[in-house]
């Protein structure tokens, strides 16, 4: 059994978002999520990546600019764009099965089909036998996979992943990435994957965007033409290394800038003077 997904296409056009004076998060951000591609957004911490996800999901509205899904403007949260959160947002009071079935139930399509699909997905990520366990009884890696399938069962048009593997140790993270690649290569849905790790970005993505520090804008676009299906061995190829060294330079610049910004925040250096023409 395989699940049919209808991949969507999203476009972000000239988006601005601010949370008050001195807390400008996004400045003139524009990019496209191409149909059936895995787009990776990479930037230092605190560059407004999470704000961007919240905008795409429809939890908050942009101050300016527009966000389109298949040409239609986004108005609010809906299950055609699903978020996998940074910290696990599995409901701690429901077991794995109830968590997975939450979407189908609230949407009123909790038939045999949905149950079959849940069973298929749970098996796919190797969680069979854990259906009756509560989130606290699962390991960190299992929780992330459970969250992945809770989103997937709703057949979203776009998956929005907000640093889903953050906080896992390097080795578990690598295995989680393998699960993700397997699922992605099978479904070929549209994915926006946000991360702060370069390796992850290059390993998983088809297109990578690099963001600047706050207020965040897109700094560079990079095509990643590594072959698919990918395995962890891709990380020791020369092509990968070349891409990585380009990316490192971009990111290193931003990291230094972010560090400078921290010092400004601590009041050790004067804020950069506003240019007035």
């Amino acid at each position: 059994m395989a699940i049919e997904y209808i991949a969507g296409e999203m476009e972000v056009r000239g988006v601005y978002k601010s949370f008050g004076h001195g807390k400008e998060a996004l400045e003139d951000v524009s990019f496209r999520l191409e149909r059936g591609k895995c787009t990776v957004l990479c930037g230092p911490s605190g560059c407004g990546k999470t704000t961007l996800i919240n905008l795409l999901a429809g939890y908050i509205v942009p101050d300016r600019g527009e966000i389109l899904l298949d040409g239609e403007p986004v108005t609010g949260p809906s299950w055609d764009r699903l978020v996998v959160f940074q910290e696990s947002a599995l409901f701690p009071w429901m077991n794995l099965w109830d968590n997975t079935m939450f979407g189908p139930i609230v949407q009123g399509r909790d038939g045999k089909e949905a149950e079959e699909m849940a069973r298929y997905l749970i098996d796919k990520v190797g969680l069979t036998g854990f259906e009756k366990k509560f989130p606290y009884q699962l390991s960190g890696g299992m929780q992330r996979r459970a969250e992945l399938i809770r989103a997937l069962i709703n057949k979203p048009k776009v998956m929005l992943m907000d640093e889903p593997f953050r906080g896992l140790d390097a080795m578990t993270r690598e295995l989680m990435q393998e699960y993700f690649i397997k699922l992605y290569e099978e479904t070929r849905m549209t994915v926006l994957f946000i991360t702060a790790e370069l390796e992850e970005a290059i390993y998983l993505g088809d297109i990578a965007y690099f963001m600047t520090v706050r207020p965040g804008t897109i700094k560079k676009r990079m095509e990643i033409n590594l072959p698919r299906p990918r395995t962890y061995r891709v990380m020791v190829t020369t092509e990968y290394q070349e891409l990585e060294s380009i990316a490192i330079k971009v990111v290193d610049e931003e990291a230094v800038k972010a560090f400078h910004l921290l010092r400004v925040k601590a009041g050790l250096e004067p804020a950069p003077k506003k240019k007035v023409e």
Partner: protein
């Protein structure tokens, strides 16, 4: 430049948002003030319909103005404050070291904590008769109650505070070559301070509750005694006055502790 354009956009949005927020804030403030009045009106209606014995707000206010001119009122306050303060201080002096040691040393905890846990379910008020037997003198037996009430809260929070300290801090201190006394001085004491102040605030609240109960049951003078005595003298509005005075005093003393806490805990942003 582009940057400049972005700034103008942000500025515009900012102004709009601030206006909306101000409007919302004003509305909330009005509702909050009105709600106090609404409460007073409810009180008035209740006192004239179902609970006819309860004095209405107007009677209470006129009675209050009369009472606060008498020395009796102030004498009561001073007595209660003295009792709470003494009991609380003794409670801190005994409870704090005990709590810290209970959290820190296993042997000490094993010997004291079971006793502590056995006695704790007995509410301090239930100690009143026994406290009279033990201390014979009335004043001492009343002070025993705020002591007991604050003691439990302070000791328990001290213990929890030490237990919550990240164990790697203990390890780090040992690594740096600290001996037992230095571990206590540099890790246990400052590490538990947040919880200790929490315990002090709760203990202060308990001290007021217990002192009022003790004064009602066996006291002479004191604000709790005043509450009960006013009832016996059918000066019901004084009951209400005493009630609110106790509330104010309790709130005030907790605020003092909170202020002290903020002063000591400069390394912590929120308390």
């Amino acid at each position: 430049m582009e940057n400049r354009a972005a700034e103008i956009i942000f500025e515009e949005v900012e102004v709009k948002k601030r206006k909306a927020a101000r409007k919302e804030g004003a509305k909330t403030l009005i509702i909050k003030t009105l709600s106090i009045f609404a409460g007073a009106i409810c009180w008035y209606i209740l006192s004239h319909t179902i609970m006819t014995k309860v004095p209405d707000p107007i009677v209470t206010i006129t009675g209050t103005i009369e009472t606060i001119q008498t020395p009796w009122f102030y004498k009561s306050i001073v007595y209660s404050i003295f009792r709470v303060f003494t009991g609380f201080c003794i409670g801190t002096l005994i409870g704090l070291p005990m709590g810290l040691l209970m959290g820190w040393l296993r042997v000490f905890r094993d010997f004291t904590f079971p006793v502590f846990e056995t006695l704790r379910p007995i509410p301090p008020v239930a100690w009143v008769p026994l406290s009279i037997l033990i201390f014979v003198k009335l004043e001492l037996s009343i002070i025993f109650l705020p002591f007991l009430g604050s003691f439990y809260a302070i000791a328990l929070n001290g213990k929890l505070g030490v237990e919550q300290i990240d164990p790697s801090l203990f390890r780090a201190a040992k690594c740096l070559g600290a001996n037992r006394w230095q571990v206590f001085r540099y890790v246990v004491l400052p590490g538990a301070l947040t919880a200790v102040f929490m315990g002090l605030a709760i203990g202060m609240g308990m001290a007021w509750i217990t002192v009022v109960a003790a004064e009602m049951i066996s006291g002479e003078y004191g604000i709790g005694y005043m509450t009960w005595q006013s009832y016996n003298l059918i000066r019901y509005h004084d009951c209400l006055l005493a009630m609110f005075t106790i509330g104010l005093l309790g709130y005030g003393s907790s605020s003092i502790i909170r202020m002290l806490g903020n002063k000591f805990l400069a390394w912590k942003k929120v308390y």
